[in-house]
C-alpha cells in the first residue's frame, strides 16, 4: 500500500554523504605523504602505485559528489541552505582534485626531489595534508551539529575547529615560502625544466592546503545562517 506514507516525508540526509565525500577527498590527499616518500627514495614504481590509489580515491569522491547533487532536489527542506551545501561540496572536491593533480604531475615528470629539498618537502607535504585532516575533523562535526539543531555548544566546537584550520593553513604557507627559497638557492645547478615543474608542484601543494582551508571557510558560511 502506497497511500500517504509517512516515510515519503523523509528525504535522504545530505550530512552523511558530505562526510563521506570529505573522508574520501582526504584519503586522496593523505596518500601524498607516502607518495613523496617514494619519490624521495627514488622508488618510481611504488610512487606510481600510490598515484593510482590517489586517482581512484578522487574518482570515488566524484561519484559521491554526483550522487549527492542528484539527490538534492529543490523540494528538499534542510536545516542548512542548499546552495551553501553545494558550495561546501565543491570546496571539498577541490581537495581531491588538487591531490590528484600533484601526484599526476610528479609521476608524469618522473620527478626527482633534490637532496637539499627532501627534508623541507616532507614537512611541507605533511603540513598540507594536516590541513586537509583538520578540515575532515571539522566536517565530521556536522553530525553533532545536526543533532544539536545547529546551535549552542556544538557551534562553538565547530567554530574552534575551523579556527585551528586557519592556523594550520598559515603554518603550511610558511613552509611554502621556505621551500621556495631553498629551491631558489639551488636552481642554478638543476635542469631549468625540472626547476619549473618543481616550482609548479610546490605551488600545487600550497594550493592543496588552500583548498582544505576553503572547506573550513565554506563550513563557517554554512553555519553562519
Amino acid at each position: 500500500m502506497a497511500l500517504t506514507n509517512i516515510a515519503n516525508l523523509f528525504g535522504r540526509s545530505p550530512i552523511k554523504p558530505i562526510k563521506e565525500h570529505m573522508a574520501t577527498a582526504h584519503e586522496a590527499s593523505a596518500d601524498l605523504v607516502p607518495f613523496f616518500e617514494a619519490l624521495i627514495a627514488g622508488d618510481l614504481a611504488q610512487a606510481e602505485k600510490i598515484q593510482q590509489r590517489i586517482s581512484s580515491a578522487e574518482n570515488r569522491a566524484d561519484d559521491i559528489k554526483r550522487d549527492l547533487r542528484l539527490h538534492l532536489p529543490d523540494s528538499l527542506f534542510m536545516p542548512v541552505s542548499r546552495s551553501d551545501l553545494l558550495e561546501l561540496l565543491h570546496a571539498q572536491d577541490k581537495v581531491a582534485n588538487t591531490a590528484q593533480d600533484i601526484a599526476g604531475l610528479a609521476i608524469g615528470r618522473k620527478m626527482e626531489i633534490p637532496a637539499k629539498l627532501q627534508n623541507l618537502m616532507s614537512t611541507f607535504v605533511e603540513s598540507a595534508v594536516a590541513t586537509s585532516a583538520q578540515a575532515l575533523r571539522a566536517i565530521n562535526e556536522l553530525d553533532e551539529l545536526l543533532e544539536s539543531g545547529f546551535a549552542g555548544r556544538e557551534m562553538d566546537i565547530a567554530k574552534r575547529m575551523t579556527e585551528e584550520l586557519d592556523d594550520q593553513e598559515r603554518k603550511s604557507d610558511k613552509f611554502e615560502v621556505e621551500i621556495r627559497a631553498a629551491l631558489f638557492e639551488i636552481e642554478q645547478d638543476l635542469p631549468p625544466v625540472n626547476v619549473i615543474f618543481l616550482y609548479r608542484v610546490i605551488e600545487l601543494i600550497g594550493e592543496l592546503a588552500d583548498c582544505a582551508h576553503g572547506v573550513g571557510n565554506r563550513l563557517q558560511l554554512l553555519l553562519a545562517r
Partner: protein
C-alpha cells in the same frame, strides 16, 4: 418503517461487515504511519510497536473514541430530515462505509494519497447532499471539520517545534546533555501521562461516572490526571535508571547515550500516539455503523440515542486485526525507510501530533492522524532538527483533500441509489 423491520437483520449484518472492513483498513494502513516513526528511530522493535499499538489503539478507541464517533454518526447530517424515512439514513451510512472502504482499496492499489477520515466524511456529505437534499447536510459542522484539517497539522507543527526547542535548550545544547536528559525527560513523561488521563477522564469515562453518580469538576479531573502523570513519571524514572553511558559509542557520536535516554521517552509517546490514533480514527469505521445499529434497533432516527459499547469494541478489534494481518508489513517498510529520525526528534513529533489528535478527539473533530503527524515532523524540521524533509509531501496532502472528498462522495452516491433500488 416496514423495510427496516423486514430487512433489519440483513442491514445490521451488512453494516457490521462494512464497519469491520473499514476498521481493518485503518489498522492495516494508518496505524503503521502512527507507529512507523517509533520503529524508524529504533526506539521500538516492530514487535514492541505492534504490542503497544494493539493495547493503546484499543484503549483509545474504547475510552476516548466516543466524541468523534458521535460527530460522524449524527454531526455531519441533520437527522431530523430522516425522521420520516429512517431507512434512507441506513442506506446512506451503509453506502458511506462501502464507498470509503472501496475507495481506500482502489487508491491503495493505484498508489494514490488518501485518508480514511476524508473518505468517510466525503462519503457521508455526498450521499446526504445528493441522495437526500442539500439541506440534509449540517454545513456549519462540515465547515469546521474541513477547517480542522488545515488547523491540525499547523497546530501539531507548532507544538512539536516548541517541544524540540525546549529539548535543545534544556538538554542538547548544554554542558552535560546526558545528565540533563535524565533530569528533564521525566517531566515530558508526566505530560504524556497527564494528557491521556485527562482525555480519558473528561471524555471516555464520562458516561461511566454518570451511571455511578460521580461528578468531578475540572480541577478534580486535572488532579487525578496529575496523579496518573506522576505514576507514569515514576515508571519512566525506573526505566531510565537502567540506561548507562556508553563511552565507546560516544567516541563516534557524542549524543549516542543521550539518544538512548530519549528512546525510553519515545516508548511513552508511542503509547500516546497509538491512544490518540485509536480515539480519532476508530470513529471512521464505527460512526456509520453506530448510526445504522441505532436506527435499526429503534426503528426511528433519534439524535439522543446512546452508543452501545460493543460497537466501539468491534471497531477496536477491527483495527487490531488489520494491524496483525497487514499493518505490520507496512510498519516494517516505513521503519526501514525512516532512518534519519533520532528519538529526540521522533518524540517531539509524536507528542505534538498525539496532543493535537487527542484534543481533536475530545472536541469531536475527525482529523487525519497522518497529516497531523506530517505537520508535527515539519515542525521539528523548522527547528533545524532533521537532515532532509521532502516538501512534496505537502502537495500530496493537498492532493488527498482534492481527490478523496469527491471520490468518496461520488462512490457513496452510487451505492446509495443501489441500496435504495435493492431494498426500497
Amino acid at each position: 418503517m416496514e423495510i427496516i423491520s423486514q430487512y433489519g437483520h440483513i442491514l445490521l449484518i451488512l453494516a457490521c461487515v462494512f464497519g469491520f472492513f473499514m476498521a481493518w483498513g485503518v489498522g492495516a494502513n494508518d496505524v503503521a504511519n502512527a507507529m512507523g516513526t517509533s520503529v524508524g528511530s529504533r526506539a521500538l522493535t516492530i514487535k514492541q510497536a505492534i504490542l503497544i499499538a494493539m493495547i493503546f489503539e484499543f484503549a483509545g478507541a474504547y475510552l476516548a473514541g466516543g466524541e468523534v464517533t458521535a460527530t460522524i454518526r449524527k454531526g455531519i447530517i441533520d437527522s431530523e430530515i430522516f425522521s420520516d424515512q429512517p431507512e434512507l439514513l441506513v442506506y446512506g451510512m451503509l453506502s458511506a462505509l462501502l464507498a470509503a472502504g472501496t475507495w481506500l482499496l482502489i487508491a491503495s492499489i493505484l498508489g494514490w494519497p488518501v485518508s480514511t477520515t476524508h473518505s468517510i466524511v466525503g462519503a457521508i456529505v455526498g450521499f446526504s447532499a445528493v441522495g437526500i437534499s442539500v439541506d440534509a447536510v449540517a454545513w456549519g459542522k462540515v465547515g469546521s471539520i474541513v477547517a480542522s484539517w488545515v488547523v491540525s497539522p499547523v497546530l501539531a507543527g507548532t507544538i512539536s517545534f516548541l517541544l524540540f526547542r525546549s529539548v535543545q535548550r534544556l538538554i542538547l545544547n548544554t554542558e552535560d546533555p546526558f545528565t540533563n536528559a535524565k533530569r528533564y525527560i521525566p517531566f515530558y513523561m508526566f505530560a504524556v501521562g497527564w494528557m491521556i488521563a485527562m482525555v480519558t477522564l473528561t471524555k471516555g469515562l464520562k458516561h461511566v461516572f454518570k451511571d455511578a453518580n460521580i461528578q468531578l469538576s475540572f480541577i478534580q479531573d486535572a488532579g487525578i490526571a496529575a496523579i496518573a502523570g506522576l505514576l507514569v513519571m515514576a515508571l519512566g524514572i525506573m526505566m531510565l535508571k537502567r540506561i548507562k553511558r556508553d563511552p565507546s559509542r560516544e567516541k563516534l557520536n557524542r549524543f549516542y547515550s543521550v539518544e538512548r535516554v530519549f528512546a525510553i521517552l519515545m516508548v511513552f509517546t508511542a503509547c500516546a500516539m497509538a491512544f490518540a490514533h485509536g480515539s480519532n480514527d476508530v470513529a471512521n469505521a464505527v460512526g456509520p455503523l453506530a448510526a445504522v445499529v441505532n436506527t435499526v434497533q429503534m426503528g426511528t432516527v433519534t439524535a439522543k440515542a446512546t452508543m452501545p459499547s460493543w460497537i466501539l469494541l468491534l471497531g477496536g478489534a477491527g483495527i487490531v486485526v488489520g494491524l496483525a494481518t497487514y499493518g505490520f508489513k507496512v510498519m516494517a517498510t516505513i521503519g526501514r525507510k525512516i532512518t534519519e529520525l533520532t528519538p529526540s526528534r521522533g518524540f517531539a513529533a509524536e507528542l505534538g501530533a498525539a496532543a493535537t489528535v487527542v484534543l481533536a478527539s475530545g472536541t469531536g473533530l475527525p482529523i487525519s492522524t497522518t497529516h497531523t503527524l506530517v505537520g508535527a515532523v515539519l515542525g521539528v524540521g523548522l527547528a533545524r532538527g532533521i537532515g532532509a524533509l521532502n516538501l512534496r509531501m505537502i502537495t500530496t496532502i493537498a492532493a488527498s483533500w482534492v481527490v478523496t472528498l469527491p471520490a468518496g462522495a461520488g462512490l457513496a452516491i452510487l451505492f446509495f441509489f443501489f441500496f435504495k433500488g435493492v431494498f426500497g
